[in-house]
Every structure is written in C-alpha cells, then in structure tokens.
Symmetry: none
Subunit: 218 residues, 4 copies
C-alpha cells in the first residue's frame, strides 16, 4: 500500500505462494484479534503466532521483528482508508461542492467503519510505533487528494490556502470519527455521524472560502 518509512519495517519476504499469503493473512488478522482481546500490553509475538495457528518461528519468517508486523498491519489499514479517499476525490473533480463533501465523507466513513474493530484496535498501535510518522504520511496523501479536488470546485469556493484547509477538513473528520469509534461505534451513533459529518465539512468550507467580493461587475 503506502510506502514504508524505514527499510527495517518492510516485510521480510513478499509472499508469492498461495500458502504464504494465507499465512501472512492469518498473522495479520491474529494481530488484530489479540489486540482487541488482550489489549496492546498483551500483544506478544508468541501470542499472535499461536492465535494465527503457526509457530513464532514462522511469524519471524515473514516479519523481521515485531515492529514491522505492527507497522504492516497499520499501514495496510490506513492505506486502505486513504486509497478510498483518494479515489473518491479523483472521481469528483469539478463536481458540486456538496457532492464532493458527500462523496468524501461516505468514502471515509465506509472505509473506517468496514471493520470498526480494526480501526479501534489500531489506535492503540500507532502510539507504540511512533505512528505519528505514518499518520503524517497518510494524512499527507489525503491532503493532497483533497486539495486537488477542492481546487476544481466552483470559483466561489476557492481557498487562500487549500492545503491547510484540506488538512483541517481531513483531521476534523478523523477526530469526529475516532470519537464515535472509541465510544463503541454503535450503529445509531454511526448513523448520526454519517449525517452530521457532511454538515461539518460543508459548513467549514463555505465559511473558509475566500470571500470573492462579488464585485465582478463588468
């Protein structure tokens, strides 16, 4: 998905064979399971391996160390999320602002809520990993895609500093979503989130848009 920051964090071998893929997948999923069941403090490589139904040794065949395992899991998830955002943005260039916002929110929330358990579990990982680095990277991708889309909005919705506006939008959206996720991601709450998030985004953009003095008389 997204580019790893350090080379040590890269998975040791790219699984080419079918069996390997299954194994890697199992380990990845087991990581989430353990995280959710036992918490970040109890997340040990041995436990993950056991839950995945393989031996520790096998785990270390695919990941050079624990950090890389965590990184990989986090990267995959965040990568999915931004990819969804990127796609939504790309598909709505030159669209109506409201439509843009609608698409953005839907893509983001769908991606995050597809497996809310994963999303929640990963919050606890990113800290240990100085996830900030990765988060910044991801955020940056979102920012770029968003900016690009916003630049194609109607002339009365242009911004002095699109990049910053995009960052605000993306991080505010992430913040609100996180709160709902950490509160348990109850369907009712998620529903409200889907309904309110566009209001938040749209409201902000309208307010932040450069007041082009509707001067242009001619």
């Amino acid at each position: 998905m997204s580019t790893p920051v350090q080379s040590t964090l890269e998975p040791r071998k790219t699984p080419l064979q079918a069996r390997s893929t299954v194994t890697v997948e199992a380990i990845s999923e087991a990581t989430i399971q353990v995280l959710l069941a036992d918490g970040p403090a109890r997340l040990t490589t041995t436990r993950v391996a056991k839950r995945a139904g393989v031996s520790v040794g096998t785990l270390y065949q695919y990941y050079p160390n624990k950090e890389s395992l965590l990184f990989s899991v986090l990267d995959q998830h965040l990568g999915n999320v931004v990819s969804a955002v990127e796609q939504a943005c790309n598909e709505h260039h030159h669209d109506d602002l409201k439509t843009m916002v609608e698409a953005l929110v839907t893509a983001f929330v769908d991606a995050k809520m597809g497996r809310p358990d994963i999303s929640v579990a990963l919050y606890s990982i990113s800290a240990a990993l100085n996830g900030a680095a990765l988060a910044r990277q991801i955020t940056s991708r979102g920012q770029v895609a968003l900016s690009a889309m916003l630049k194609t909005a109607a002339p009365e919705f242009q911004f002095e500093q699109v990049e910053f506006t995009a960052l605000m939008l993306f991080s505010a959206m992430a913040g609100a979503t996180r709160a709902i996720l950490e509160a348990g991601a109850l369907p009712e709450m998620v529903g409200k989130l889907r309904q309110q998030l566009p209001l938040l985004c749209y409201g902000y953009l309208v307010n932040a848009a450069v007041r082009t003095p509707p001067n242009s008389k001619s």
Copy 2:
C-alpha cells in the same frame, strides 16, 4: 482533577509535606521529559525516577504501579484542558454564537498549546493505558459543558440533538488540533489553526441548527 477510573490507578499516598509535594511534582514532570526525550518505549519507571532525581522506591511510594503514574499524568493534563473548556462555556451562556465559538476555541487551543510538548507526549500514553476510558470521560465533560452553553444560544441556533452536536464539535476540534500538534506545532500552523478552527465550528453549528421555518407567516 477528573475522577480516576480504577482504584488501582489512584495515587498511593497524598503528599502532605512540602518535600513530598516537590517530589511528586518532579516525578510527574520527569515522566513527560522522558517521554519526549526517549519515546514511549523507553519510558521505564527507573528512568523516570532517575530523571526526577529520586530513587525508584520513592516513585513507588506515590504511585502503586507504572500504569497509575501514566494515568495520573494524563488525567492531570486532560483535566486541565476540559476545565478550561468548562470555564469558557460557563462564562458565555446566552452570548452571541460567534462569541461562544470564539471563546471555546481560544480556551481549547490555549490549553492544548500551553505546553505542546506535553500534549504530544501524552498521545502516546493514552494508547498504552486504554486511554479510551479516560478519553471518553473527559470528552463527556466537554460535551456536557458545551451542550449547556449551546442551549442558551439564540433561538435560531438550536439543535435537534445538542449532545451529539457537542460531541461532534469537541471531537472535530480535538482532531484538528491533534494533527497540528503531531505535525510539530509550528507557530505558523498554530496561528492558522486558531484562525480556522472558529470557522470550522461556526460553520458546522450554523449548518446543523434546526431550520426553524422562518416564522412562516402568510
């Protein structure tokens, strides 16, 4: 500040003598220092004690375990932040919506940016602590104070579900602020944040307000 969740997390003894107070303060500060200097993975009780200029034993006289130390530090900081928010909210009941938002944002950002290093450092703690519990607690306080204030806003700014609106507002604000903090809290960025956050909040509220049919006469 806020009430600890578990009894095991409560400080072991309340420092009554002057000497003790100093010691506890030093330990608390040292925790932040170590966190910033060495990262969460290197945050060991021994290291904290050393940095605080006391022995490990002393640390354990005041905190029953490492978790309680982290909890205490986190609790103190988050407590400060919500307290600031609460005060701002209480002081602006019945005010103009724009003023309310302005006050809210200023209080929040001021509190968070007073010691940006601390704010950043603590993000990494809360994960290890299943800080979600504490975070929810804190968020909840913010939500209550915000709701109370919003209820006193002008009639055209009333909301179908104030509580949820408050939660959205608070968590969006927190999300945006977090992004800036994790990006390094550069003064320039912080400036922009202070300027844009009100737009975000105000824009959302205006949009989320119940469309009171403008007194449909006729």
Copy 3:
C-alpha cells in the same frame, strides 16, 4: 502425584520432548541443591536456573512462577512418601497388627530417609507455601490408607474412631521422624528411630483399641 490445589500452581507445560524432560528434572533437582546449599532465603529463581544450567526464561517456561516450582518439588516428594505408605497399607490388610505397624514404619522411614537432605530441605519450603494446604491433603491420603488397613486388623484391635487414630499415628510418626531429620539424620539416630517408632505406634494402638470387655465368661 497428588492433585495440585490451585491452578496457578500447576506446571505451565508438560514436557513432551526428551530434552524438556531433562530440563525439568534438572530444575527440580537444582531447587533442592540450592535450598540445601544456600538456605530458603537465598532460593531465588535465578539461582535455581543457574544451578540447573539453564536460563531463567527456561525455568519460567515450565513453571508459571516461583511458588509453583516449590509446590511441584514439595508435591513430588510428599507424594512419593504417601504413595509408599499407601502401598504398604494396601499390602498388609488382614495382617497381624505388629506386622502392619512394622510395614508402615518401614515404608515411611525408608521413603523419608531415602534422601534425607531433600526431606530436610522441604520443611523450609512448606512454610513459605502455606504448605499446610498440601500437608493436609497428603496427611489425608495417609489417613485414609491407614484407616483402611486398621479396619482389617484383628477384632481385639478395633477403634472407636479409626480416622482419628490414623491421624494421630501418622502425625506422631511424622513428628518423630522430623525431629531426627532436623537433628541431622545421623545414621545412629535413624537406626534408633527405626527401632523405636514401631514401639510408639504399636503401643498407641494397643492402648487405643476399644477394650472389648473380655466378657466372654466361660
């Protein structure tokens, strides 16, 4: 041997491979060695591991904690002793009372004196372990076996409360043996013990037997 009382005390993994068995055996023996050489206060898991020629980690692969290690060693020894007693009892049902006593004493003393060093070493363990629980369990087994045997003795050697009589017998025997062991288990003393213990036991039983009024007039 006998059933552990608490699950925490149970060994962590049953050694299946040959290597493991050797390791576990070595740890068990090392525990005794350290106990004898350094005393109970110096009995640390690190020291035991070192003496066993393995790393601490290995020790903890087989015992979840220090207590379980001690428990296991104690259990094994006491189990051996009662087993010997049980066998002796079972083999002498319906025998002459004197023979019964002789067999009982021999079995018990043989078992205890087989490795007097171990016996002595373990006295100091049982206290730390609230060995009372285990001791009661063991004593109980002895009591049962003894009672069963005594019930098959000649009619003039029947008892009002066999169970209690058995307990007295067993614990008196244990007490006398312990005194000799703690005095150094000098061969001379042990010899005397073997000679006097039957007198103690037989004398008691004869005295405690229900005085069947030799009514049988003629």
Copy 4:
C-alpha cells in the same frame, strides 16, 4: 526466655520503662496478627509497625532487624511451651508413670492451645529463620526435663536410652499436636487430642521400657 543463639538476634534494648514494654508487646502481637492475616510472605516490618500503631523507625529501636523480631516472637512462644513442660516434669518426679504422662500432656497441650493462632502462625516463621536451630534448642530443653522425670519413674519403667526415648516422646507429641493445629484446632479435635495423646505416650513408654527380667532372684 531461652538463650538466643546469635547475638545479632537479641533485642536491641531491654525495655525498662512501662511505655517501652507496651510498645514491644504491641509489636510482638502485631507480628502474629500480620502473620495470620496476611501470611508469611506479606510479613513486612512496615506492615507490622503500622498494625502495632508505631512507625517503622520505632520498631527498629527495639529490634536490630527483622530476623531478630521474628526470632524474639518465636523464642517467646516456644520458651513458654517448654517452660510449662519443664515445670510439669519437675513437679512430678517420682510419681506414677500414668500421672507423669497425664501431667506432661496437659501442660504441653494447654501451652500450645492457649493461643492456637499463635502456634499456627509460628510454624510459618520457624522455617524462614532456620528455626531448626531454635527448635533443636527447645526440644533439647524438653528432652532434658523429660529425661530427668522419667529417671524417677518406677523401676519397671526404666529405659535403655532415656534421652532418646524422651526425644521420641516429645517430638511425637509435637507432631500430633501440630496436625490438629494445622487442621484448624477445632475444639472437638482438640478434645480428642487431649484424650488420645496420653494413650500414645503411655503406650510408647510401656513398650519401650527395659524388660527387666522381673525375677532376677539372688
């Protein structure tokens, strides 16, 4: 009471003043309490001091170290017991064997059962203290007193090796009593003990007595 083995174990100062005596008494009693309430593993000097209502510092004014505290408590108790036995023996020289035994048992059981909680608590201490040393010492005093008494018994109750006989008697009695104590010292059990112990002792002595060919005319 009895003479301490090592000089370091002696109480630091002999309490002459009333206040001190009270303090020392309180500490002594607190030791038992803590032992019973929290077990030997939780017996810390701080805890004992707190329970006694004094500060740790004060405890260390009366005992140079923890060991000496434990020693003192144990010594006092065991001293009481042997003293009772000694007195009983001294008072029954030249008496009937049955009376001797009766007196011995009564004195011993009374002393042990006066505060069964203490008796039980102390079993766990003696191990930590290499109580064997003290136990031997105490046993030895009992042995001496007992031997002396037995020598004054009727001619048909003389023994080849009184000392050993006395040791057997004393330790068997101690063993049986211990079993009852560790089983909870239920009044019913204690009653049976008082009734059966004389049978045990008397039976043994009768059996162990030198069979003086009762004729040896001329």
